[in-house]
């Protein structure tokens, strides 16, 4: 393969860039599908999780609230019970009497003994019981010998003495043992002295014994849940119990009220219900708040969000895992589709390439083996990119002298595309064809060629395909044909001229006959008649008879001339063929004979006849001649019979006959019947000029039909003529 051959197949490489488009498009589409699918999966998973979480949180809130409520109720009950304990002493007259006796006489051992017995009764609930007088001085205690009451208790004591009502000593830290306590202060009212308080009974409670454990207790297992008690002190919320995750918090841990995210602060502010917030450790928590009635306390039941939402978080992970699996699955599916797409594409491409190569081979063979010269040019530049072996052989130039040249640079094409202007014309018209511009071969011969050039698109470029066919032989033959035609034309015109001369001669002959032969006859008859008229009486019988013979002879001559002229005319007039209704024509023609046949007894048999394609007037002459003959030759018969009909249609022609039972003829002379002036009967027997049947034959002949007759002497005669049908007539005559 050389450079030239490499130019054309370049097309085979092209589809690469063309095909990459659809592949990329498919890839993007699949990617988009994947992203949409993924987004759908993720969004629905997320929505599902959110919904689950909300439901779960609602459940948790309810659970926490129930716990808080129950605890608050129990705490309220606990406070009520403690106050009731106080009331037992406060409104007990005998205890009051006993207390007065002891206070008035501190060394009354009996009274002291009885009081200590009372105190002992309280011991399970209270770690200290002591009796204080109206001045707040501790007079008797269990266990014995206790120091003075703590400051908070002393402050509360004054209020109780004033009001005379049982009061709850809230949580306080004792400055003696540094521990947290609370208690009940019950005034002992003096029945005798207008219920003035004699003193106060202080029942101290150690919260560690029951209260703190109760608060701490959580129904069910939990890692982070706890309940805690707070109260408001000024601008602070004070934690009242020990916490789960921090020690030494009771009355020590405080939070300012502006830390509103803290459930303890919210509780201290008197809020109730469920909240999400951040607890004392900074952990996000869920909390239920409950105010404990008739107390400064508020209860918080809280749980870390981490634990509370643990199960739902787990669920979330499961969902996430599922989403991951789904995403992977979708990705795999899309990938599979894409892969199959690629496989199909490459298979298709391989097949196309194969087909293209096969096609290339076939067309290359065609190009190589063509018996026409072929040139392939770049349409834009006019540079020859390929030339087939036939053209090289035809012109005798080497392959190299073609390739890479522009068409108009090749001398031997100068007549065809001699300059760029003509080449531009070709580019515009896309097609040119010449066969009048010969090429010159390398050895100087001039050969006639047919040069056809087409421009057509090939990929993105245009290619010009030039077909060069040697037509030297064709041209030679053409020239010969033209010459022969010219000669023929000459001969034809010569013959035509001769024919025209002959026709003109015939014409002038007829004209002469009409004028010049008739005139003497007329004179013969005219003067003979005048002679008879003028000299008739003086002439002899014989002379008169001779004059009569002159007259008759001239008359007959006139008839002959007329018939001959009619015969001549029948041969010359132009045929004007139309559809002729034969039935009607026969009826018309018979009408002409009515006068002649009125006196005779003729049996007419007229069959239905088909329409024919003929000259109406001439056909009428034919029928008139034949009917006239039939009438004439049956003249001697008593039972004359004349039949007109048609034979079965054959061979694309209509055959009509006229049959009579008259004198007939000798079949041996049948061939003479249709000749001019031929007669088979003597003038004495039957008058006539012998022109009629010749005229019939001539007219039918001009229609392409035939005429013939059958008959026997004394046995009648049948005359036939045929008329070819309009489209099917073969001229058989």
């Amino acid at each position: 393969m050389d450079a030239g051959e490499n130019r054309l197949p370049r097309k085979a490489g092209r589809p690469d860039c063309v095909h990459s488009g659809p592949t990329c498009g498919g890839g993007y589409l699949l990617l988009l599908v994947f992203f949409l699918l993924g987004a759908g999966i993720v969004i629905s998973g997320w929505l599902y999780c959110r919904r689950q979480e909300k439901q779960y949180i609602a459940g948790m809130a309810q659970q926490l609230s129930i716990i808080a409520e129950l605890k608050a109720r129990d705490l309220a009950q606990y406070r009520k019970e403690r106050l009731a304990d106080g009331s037992v002493f406060c409104q007990n007259a005998s205890f009051a009497a006993l207390a007065r006796r002891f206070l008035e006489k501190p060394d009354d051992a009996d009274a002291q003994g009885q009081l200590e017995a009372w105190f002992e009764e309280c011991r399970p609930q209270y770690d200290q019981v002591r009796l204080l007088d109206a001045q707040g001085v501790s007079r008797l205690s269990l266990p014995a010998g206790l120091p003075a009451v703590s400051d908070p208790v002393a402050r509360e004591l004054a209020g109780v003495l004033r009001s005379g009502r049982v009061s709850f000593q809230d949580f306080y830290r004792s400055e003696q043992d540094r521990r947290v306590h609370l208690g009940v202060l019950a005034p002992i009212l003096d029945e005798k002295n207008a219920r003035q308080p004699l003193g106060v009974l202080f029942l101290r409670i150690d919260p560690d014994s029951w209260l703190y454990p109760f608060i701490k207790r959580w129904p069910g297992a939990s890692r982070t849940a706890e309940t805690l008690l707070v109260r408001r002190e000024g601008n602070e919320a004070v934690f009242l119990n020990e916490l789960r995750f921090q020690t030494n918090t009771a009355l020590n841990l405080r939070a300012p009220l502006d830390r509103v995210a803290l459930p303890a602060v919210q509780a201290a502010l008197g809020r109730e219900g469920f909240m999400e917030g951040v607890d004392y450790r900074g952990e996000p928590v869920l909390a239920a708040l409950q105010v404990i009635p008739d107390s400064p306390w508020s209860l918080v039941a809280r749980m870390d969000v981490a634990e509370a939402l643990g199960p739902i978080r787990e669920e979330g992970w499961r969902v996430a895992a599922m989403i991951g699996a789904l995403l992977f699955g979708a990705g795999a599916c899309v990938g599979l589709v894409w892969w199959q797409h690629r496989v199909r594409f490459y298979r298709e491409k391989a097949r196309t390439t194969e087909a293209l190569q096969g096609s290339e081979v076939r067309y290359r063979r065609l190009f190589e083996a063509a018996q026409d010269g072929i040139l392939i040019l770049e349409a834009g530049s006019g540079i020859i990119v390929d030339v087939n072996p036939f053209l090289i052989g035809l012109l005798g130039y080497s392959r190299e002298s073609f390739l890479g040249k522009k068409l108009w640079e090749l001398g031997f094409f100068k007549d065809i595309v001699g300059n760029q202007a003509r080449f531009a014309e070709l580019q515009r018209k896309k097609y040119i064809r010449y066969e009048d511009k010969p090429l010159e071969t390398s050895d100087g011969r001039r050969i006639d060629v047919e040069f056809v050039s087409n421009v057509y698109p090939c990929g993105e470029e245009e290619v010009i395909h030039c077909n060069i066919r040697e037509i030297t032989d064709l041209k030679r033959a053409e020239k010969k044909i033209l010459k022969l035609n010219a000669e023929l034309e000459e001969q034809v015109s010569a013959r035509t001229a001769e024919l025209q001369a002959a026709c003109a001669e015939l014409e002038s002959f007829s004209y002469s006959v009409s004028h010049d032969l008739r005139a003497p006859l007329r004179h013969v008859m005219g003067f003979a008649d005048m002679l008879q008229k003028d000299a008739g009486p003086s002439l002899s019988e014989k002379s008169l008879s001779q004059l009569k013979i002159i007259h008759e002879a001239a008359e007959r001559m006139g008839e002959l001339i007329d018939d001959l002229l009619a015969f001549s005319r029948a041969g010359r007039v132009e045929l004007q063929k139309t559809g002729v209704n034969l039935d009607e024509l026969v009826r018309e023609t018979l009408g002409d004979f009515q006068a002649e046949t009125k006196a005779r007894n003729i049996a007419w048999q007229i069959q239905p006849l088909p329409p024919v394609w003929a000259d109406h007037n001439l056909l009428r002459q034919v029928l008139a001649n034949l009917i006239s003959n039939a009438v004439k030759f049956t003249g001697a018969r008593a039972g004359a019979k004349i039949e007109i009909g048609c034979a079965p249609v054959t061979n694309g022609e209509t055959v009509v006959f006229v049959r009579d039972n008259g004198a007939g003829f000798d079949p041996r002379y049948a061939h003479k019947l249709f000749g001019v002036f031929q007669r088979l009967h003597s003038a004495v027997e039957f008058e006539g000029t012998g022109i009629g049947l010749a005229n019939v034959r001539r007219i039918i002949g001009r229609h392409g039909g035939r005429t013939w007759a059958e008959g026997a002497v004394g046995g009648g005669a049948t005359f036939y003529f045929s008329i070819p049908n309009q489209n099917g007539g073969n001229h058989g005559h």
Partner: protein, 157 residues
């Protein structure tokens, strides 16, 4: 003058053959029309007469009431005469009857094409001929009303 036909009009017979002239005049004579007939022997003479030229320069009278015209004549033939008459604004109103031996279609067609007023084939049979010419004479001389400018006998005298 015989006044059997009444108003007598002149007839121009153009005929080269003296025998035909004789026969025609004989036929017309039977009805006393012959002496109204002026005979000229060829087409040129006929045109001279009609156009008052040559020897007819000083002739009296107007146009003939009819021209009986033979076709085959020496010099100027009948068809040429017919054409000349019918092409002339003055003469075209004169009725022209062709009297010919010919029944040939081209003759008939040409004559009618050029405006002939009648075409009579001269029969070979003398009796027929007499009859035809007689009818012709009577028709044109007595029955037909001629165009206004044609000369009457009285005026031409």
């Amino acid at each position: 003058m015989d006044t059997e036909i009444g108003d007598i009009r002149n007839i121009l017979l153009v005929e080269d053959d003296p025998r035909d002239v004789e026969l025609t005049l004989a036929a017309l004579e039977e009805h006393h029309l012959a002496n109204q007939v002026l005979v000229v022997h060829d087409g040129a003479e006929a045109l001279d007469y009609l156009c008052r030229r040559g020897k007819f320069k000083t002739r009296a009278g107007g146009h003939p009431i009819v021209v009986l015209l033979d076709l085959k004549m020496p010099k100027v033939n009948g068809l040429e005469v017919l054409k000349a008459i019918k092409a002339d604004e003055c003469l075209k109103i004169i009725p022209v009857v062709v009297l010919s031996s010919s029944r040939e279609t081209p003759d008939l067609v040409e004559c009618y094409k050029h405006g002939v007023n009648a075409y009579v084939v001269k029969p070979v049979d003398f009796a027929d001929f007499m009859k035809a010419v007689k009818h012709l004479g009577i028709f044109w001389a007595a029955i037909n009303e001629p165009p206004p400018q044609t000369g009457r006998k009285e005026e031409s005298d």
